[in-house]
C-alpha cells in the first residue's frame, strides 16, 4: 500500500543503521534470550464493535475532499473508528443511539455518471451499512450542522436542498421513505420544532417557521430581527432541542436567544464583547477589535447554558478568520466568564454535553486539541486528524 504524506521513516532508519550497528554489543544478549515455547498463532477475530454513542465522543469529519468521519473518545484521546461519510456529505446521529445517518450525493462513476442522493444508514455497533433511503436532492456544500437534522425523536429527517432554488426534503426514517419536498425560498439552516416542523433563518432577517403536518406546508415568518447582509447571524448556532431554545451569534458579536414554537419569541440581543468588558463590535472598516469568527465558530453547552466562541482580533468582514481565544459566555448572565488563549489558532469548535464538558478545537491542517471546558487545560492533542465539521452527541 502506497500512500501520500508518509514520513520517510525507512530512510531515516537507514541513516541510523551505522549507529544501530555500533550498539550491537548491547543488543546481543537481549537478542539471544529465548522463551521455551514459540508464540501461539493468532485466533481469527471479528472486527471490533462499538457501544452506543457516548457523550464523551466527538465526531470529526476529515474535511473537504477527504473521506470519512473519525470517532474519538475525548476521555482517552483514542480513535474508535471511522464512519463512511463521503465528500460533502452530512452526518446525523440518532438521539437514541440506534443509527448513524449520512446524507450524501454519489455519482455512479466517481466524479461523473449518474447522481444519486440518499440517506445512508449505518449500524452504530458494527458501522456496517444497513440501508439506503433515496432522496430527490440535497445541497452541495462542505458540511454544516443544520442542513441535515433529525426531529420527532429521530423519526423524521429534514434535508436542505439548493438547486439553486431552496427547499427541504422531508424523510420518514422509521419507514425509510422520502415523504415530500417543501419549498423554502430565501431561508436555510434548520432547527427542529417539536410538534410543528422546523424553523430556519431567512435572508430578510426573519425566522421562518414551517408547519409540516398538513397537506400543504404553512410557512410563517417572524418580524425581521437581524440584517442578513450587514450583520449576518452565523448559520452555525447553539440549539437546546428539549427546551426549544436557540442561541444565535452575529458577525459583530450580537447574541440573540430565541424560544421556538408556532410563534417564536426572540429576545433583545446583547454584545459578547460588552459581556467581556471590551468595546462592542462594529460593522465599519478600520476598527480593530475582538470579533467572533471561524468556519464553525461557536459551540453551546446545553446543560449549563454556556456558549464557547472562537474569537480573534481583526476588522469587520473577517468572520472566517480562525480564533486565537475561546470565550466562555454564560448566556443567561450575559457575562464572559473565561477567556482561554489557544496555542494554535482554531477553525472549528465543539463541546461535549457531559457535566465535565470538554472543548474540542481543530485547525486547517487537522490538528485536534481537547481541552477541559472548566479549566481550559489541554488534555489531548491529536495531529492531522481532521479539519471538517465537529459534532458531539446532544440530548
Amino acid at each position: 500500500m502506497m500512500k501520500v504524506q508518509r514520513k520517510s521513516s525507512l530512510s531515516a532508519k537507514a541513516k541510523h543503521a551505522a549507529i544501530a550497528i555500533s550498539a550491537l554489543a548491547l543488543l546481543a544478549s537481549a537478542g539471544t534470550a529465548r522463551a521455551s515455547d514459540p508464540l501461539p498463532p493468532d485466533q481469527e477475530l471479528e472486527a471490533v464493535t462499538l457501544p452506543a454513542p457516548k457523550p464523551s465522543w466527538v465526531f470529526v469529519d476529515r474535511g473537504f475532499a477527504s473521506l470519512g468521519t473519525f470517532i474519538y473518545d475525548t476521555d482517552t484521546g483514542k480513535l474508535l473508528g471511522l464512519i463512511e461519510t463521503s465528500d460533502i456529505s452530512d452526518l446525523a446521529i440518532d438521539p437514541a443511539g440506534k443509527a448513524y445517518y449520512v446524507s450524501e450525493s454519489l455519482w455512479s462513476k466517481g466524479w461523473r455518471g449518474t447522481r444519486q442522493d440518499m440517506i445512508t444508514v449505518y449500524d452504530p455497533a458494527t458501522l456496517k451499512l444497513k440501508t439506503e433511503i433515496p432522496i430527490p436532492g440535497r445541497i452541495l456544500i462542505d458540511s454544516r450542522k443544520f442542513n441535515f437534522i433529525l426531529s420527532d425523536e429521530g423519526k423524521t429527517a429534514y434535508v436542505y436542498n439548493l438547486d439553486p432554488a431552496s427547499s427541504v426534503n422531508v424523510v420518514d426514517l422509521a419507514k425509510g421513505k422520502f415523504v415530500k419536498k417543501i419549498e423554502l425560498p430565501g431561508c436555510a439552516s434548520m432547527m427542529a420544532v417539536t410538534g410543528i416542523g422546523f424553523s430556519a433563518l431567512c435572508s430578510d432577517g426573519s425566522l421562518a417557521t414551517v408547519k409540516t403536518a398538513g397537506a400543504k406546508p404553512e410557512i410563517t415568518r417572524s418580524a425581521p430581527f437581524f440584517s442578513a447582509t450587514n450583520d449576518p447571524i452565523f448559520d452555525n448556532f447553539g440549539y437546546d432541542r428539549a427546551k426549544q431554545q436557540v442561541v444565535f451569534l452575529s458577525y459583530t458579536g450580537q447574541v440573540y436567544t430565541a424560544k421556538l414554537g408556532a410563534t417564536p419569541t426572540i429576545a433583545e440581543p446583547f454584545s459578547i464583547q460588552a459581556a467581556a468588558g471590551v468595546p462592542v463590535g462594529e460593522t465599519k472598516p478600520l476598527v480593530v477589535n475582538w470579533y467572533p469568527g471561524a468556519r464553525q465558530g461557536n459551540a453551546y453547552h446545553i446543560a449549563s447554558g454556556h456558549l464557547y466562541v472562537l474569537m480573534h482580533m481583526g476588522e469587520y468582514w473577517s468572520h472566517k478568520a480562525a480564533g486565537t481565544e475561546i470565550w466562555d459566555l454564560d448566556v443567561a448572565a450575559k457575562k464572559v466568564v473565561r477567556r482561554i488563549p489557544l496555542a494554535e489558532e482554531a477553525g472549528r469548535i465543539a463541546v461535549t454535553q457531559e457535566e465535565n464538558a470538554k472543548i474540542v478545537v481543530t485547525n486547517d491542517v487537522g490538528n485536534i486539541t481537547i481541552l477541559d471546558a472548566k479549566t481550559g487545560e489541554e488534555k489531548f492533542k491529536l495531529e492531522k486528524s481532521g479539519s471538517g465539521i465537529l459534532q458531539t452527541l446532544e440530548p
Binding site: L140, I141, P164, A165, G186, A200, A228, L286, W317
Partner: protein, 180 residues
C-alpha cells in the same frame, strides 16, 4: 442611498451567460427561485456604488486596502475580495477562464471589489469551474461582504456547479461583470 440588488444582478448574469437551450433546466429552476423569493436581500454596498462613493482608504476593507492588480495568481489580487477556493489561474485556466476539461458554471456567487488602479467598485461573479477533481492550488478565501447560507448568492462555501454536466468542484474564476 443606492442599494445593490443581487437578484436583479443574478438575472443579468443569467442572461449573459446562460444562453442556449442546454441550460434551460437550470434557468427554469432559477426562475422559480427568483419568483418565489420576494424577500431576497439587498446588499448595502452604498459606500462603493453611491453617486458620490466614498472610496477613501478609511471606507475600504482590510482586503481592499492591500489589494493589487498585477498578479492574478495571488490571493490579494483585487478581484478575489470574496472568492473561496482554488484560483483557476493557478490550475491551467485564467482569472476568468476554466482550465482544460472544466466547465464554467452559468450561475455563481458574487462579490463587490474595489480596483486599486481606478478606485472603482466592480461586481465580480465567482463562477466555479466544474467536472474535475478539486485542484487544491492557490487556495484563497476572501470574505468581503460574504454572508451565510440563507443568502446563497453571497455565500462562498456553496458549490456553485449548477447546470454543468458534473457537479465536481475544480476551481473558481473571478469574472468582471461591470461596475457595482
Amino acid at each position: 442611498m443606492k442599494t445593490f440588488n443581487p437578484d436583479a444582478m443574478g438575472e443579468k448574469l443569467l442572461r449573459r451567460f446562460a444562453g442556449g437551450t442546454s441550460r434551460r433546466g437550470i434557468l427554469a429552476r432559477l426562475g422559480l427561485a427568483l419568483v418565489a423569493a420576494p424577500v431576497f436581500p439587498v446588499l448595502p454596498v452604498s459606500r462603493a456604488s453611491a453617486a458620490k462613493p466614498d472610496r477613501s482608504p478609511e471606507a475600504k476593507t482590510a482586503f481592499a486596502r492591500s489589494a493589487q492588480s498585477k498578479d492574478d495568481t495571488k490571493c490579494d489580487y483585487w478581484r478575489y475580495c470574496a472568492i473561496d477556493g482554488s484560483l483557476c489561474s493557478c490550475c491551467g485556466g485564467a482569472v476568468n477562464r476554466c482550465p482544460p476539461g472544466a466547465e464554467h458554471s452559468p450561475v455563481s456567487w458574487v462579490g463587490t471589489c474595489i480596483n486599486p488602479d481606478d478606485g472603482r467598485a466592480y461586481l465580480i461573479a465567482y463562477r466555479d469551474c466544474c467536472g474535475k477533481a478539486y485542484c487544491n492550488k492557490c487556495d484563497c478565501d476572501g470574505t468581503d461582504r460574504e454572508t451565510q447560507l440563507y443568502v446563497p448568492q453571497l455565500n462562498n462555501d456553496v458549490i456553485w456547479c449548477f447546470g454543468t454536466t458534473s457537479m465536481e468542484y475544480h476551481c473558481s474564476t473571478a469574472v468582471l461583470v461591470g461596475t457595482a
